[in-house]
Symmetry: C2
Subunit: 331 residues, 2 copies
């Protein structure tokens, strides 16, 4: 070891690990993002809050970042993946329910008639969610979700749903993680539907997933073994004004970084923006019908209207999927 | 640098950081615990799940430890600290409420008549909790809690309540942290009452505190600033069978290590015990009237009866405060 490399390694050992990682991360970060204002504003924000001498420096422990899931981290078209899961579960459970052959909304589900399912309205969707998401132990539901992620295929891409995550956003998660952010998903989706696979797909552990939930009940079986049984009663809806409530309830402090893609994220972005110090608010705008989908103000899934206006007014960062992303999905 | 120390340092660099820390932690761990079966079983369990070659090895990411708070991490006598906070808040708010001078339960609170407060029953306690815990913004409540922790003094010890934490348990938290456990508080106490001070006192950040909660509502003021307003409606009671529900809801996986002190912790301990692989279930038994308090089966606060029987039957670890702890509070 020569003197110079000895000195360099001593210096590296004396620096906090995060500074070393941060400098390394900075150089190679976000390779799937085009050079442009969106990438630049992310890089600039992270540098501002992580450089020890920066006036906007934030302690690692307080670097809370929150991400919506549907349409922000993975594809939400043509229908929410959780609804696709529920429809597939109905088919799986159908042999034990011969009455479903003639009874709506199940008849439409079994006939692959999505328009019929939509015609069954909120009540129909609620019935589908109830038979597929309630009445079983949490462990059993976990296994059903994992089995589905392994076998189900998206109708357009013919790939597993958990492969239809946005490569540039995976890189953003990794960049924030290397910059010592604590990353949480804050989604309107079901918390029990998301947790089983998010560690493997996003590197986000169950305790950092916030979502909507049904009630659960603790019961001890005749064999003395306890279980948590999922109930059809709604416990918490983590959407719209529910998102800041969910952030307060599950995280207990205000994020400094938030990313969403629809009006359901408006209040989460507002709540993040209203804190003191440096803040980052980002929105994914789906502009790419060729590689993914193009939708905003008039979409029934992932409508982006009020949050779009607020983003313009408040100069939040809007990511143009077509312009800003070199690739959409992992290869 | 001679050849041997070079090799030693290369070896240390090649080992995962946690093994190095773990070995160091092991030697100096739990200095306020008497040598005896309780300390030995803690040390043995942590070694079993952290030694890479152990058949019971658990990945760091899955080392979830949960602790009750009242009576497990801090003193809960003669009344729960959160109730002491509420009574003090009533006095602070009284000048704006002249009617409280003649109106129960407030009249008894203002007269320091604890028996009178108790006579007001559940309804009285609910009214006290409502006026002190609801109707304000979450930020404002935070500040009230922090001000109280700085000024309030325990009637017996004349020390701040957050100084009346159990020194041996602080050491246990530190030992588990150094062994790469993820530590959560799972308490029947109010989540908003605990989070403001637990980072400084226990080293446990807000997102790892699970507790009871009231509803909160997101509102945007006339000035455009959003706030979360605390409501008197109960959202979640994190006690008894609520604890496994809270663990599932907030943490999303089953702990491998759980510590409590009362029947309110029974289901949390059962839920922990029922998982597969190595498990640790511990109970603090308050046996020390001289240094702290002595109570169990017949106590109105922190009753330890059914959980005691189950601990005997299932051979959970029962810590005898008088025998097992060299000191109770930090000096």
């Amino acid at each position: 070891m020569d003197r110079r490399s000895l000195l360099a390694s001593m210096l590296a050992a004396a620096l906090p690990a995060s500074s070393v990682v941060s400098a390394r991360a900075q150089a190679a970060a976000l390779p799937s993002w085009q050079e442009g204002p969106a990438k630049a504003s992310i890089m600039e924000f992270v540098a501002r809050v992580t450089r020890p001498n920066s006036p906007d420096f934030v302690l690692a422990d307080e670097r809370i970042a929150v991400f919506d899931n549907d349409g922000t981290l993975w594809c939400e078209q043509p229908i929410y993946s959780q609804l696709a899961f529920a429809l597939d579960q109905v088919k799986l459970l159908a042999p034990a329910h011969p009455e479903w052959q003639t009874q709506e909304p199940f008849k439409s589900v079994l006939a692959n008639d999505l328009a019929g399912v939509v015609r069954s309205g909120e009540q129909g969707i609620f019935e589908i969610m109830t038979v597929t998401h309630a009445g079983m132990a949490t462990d059993e539901f976990d296994r059903a979700v994992m089995a589905w992620t392994r076998t189900a295929r998206h109708p357009r891409y013919h790939r597993g749903y958990t492969e239809l995550v946005f490569q540039p956003m995976l890189e953003l998660l990794e960049f924030l993680r290397q910059s010592d952010f604590k990353i949480f998903v804050v989604s309107g989706g079901g918390i029990d539907f998301m947790r089983p696979w998010m560690q493997a797909v996003y590197g986000i552990p169950p305790e950092r997933v916030v979502g909507s939930s049904g009630m659960a009940k603790y019961v001890v079986g005749a064999d003395g073994r306890p279980a948590l049984i999922k109930d059809s009663k709604i416990d918490f809806v983590d959407d719209g004004p529910g998102k800041p409530v969910g952030i307060h309830k599950f995280i207990g402090r205000r994020p400094i970084f938030a990313f969403g893609n629809s009006d359901g994220d408006l209040q989460m972005l507002q709540w993040t923006a209203a804190g003191s110090g440096a803040r980052f608010m980002g929105i994914v705008h789906h502009t790419d019908a060729d590689r993914e989908y193009a939708y905003d103000r008039n979409s029934s899934v992932g409508k982006l209207d009020k949050a779009w206006d607020e983003a313009m007014k408040e100069r939040w960062i809007v990511v143009d999927m077509k312009q800003d992303w070199k690739v959409v999905f992992p290869s």
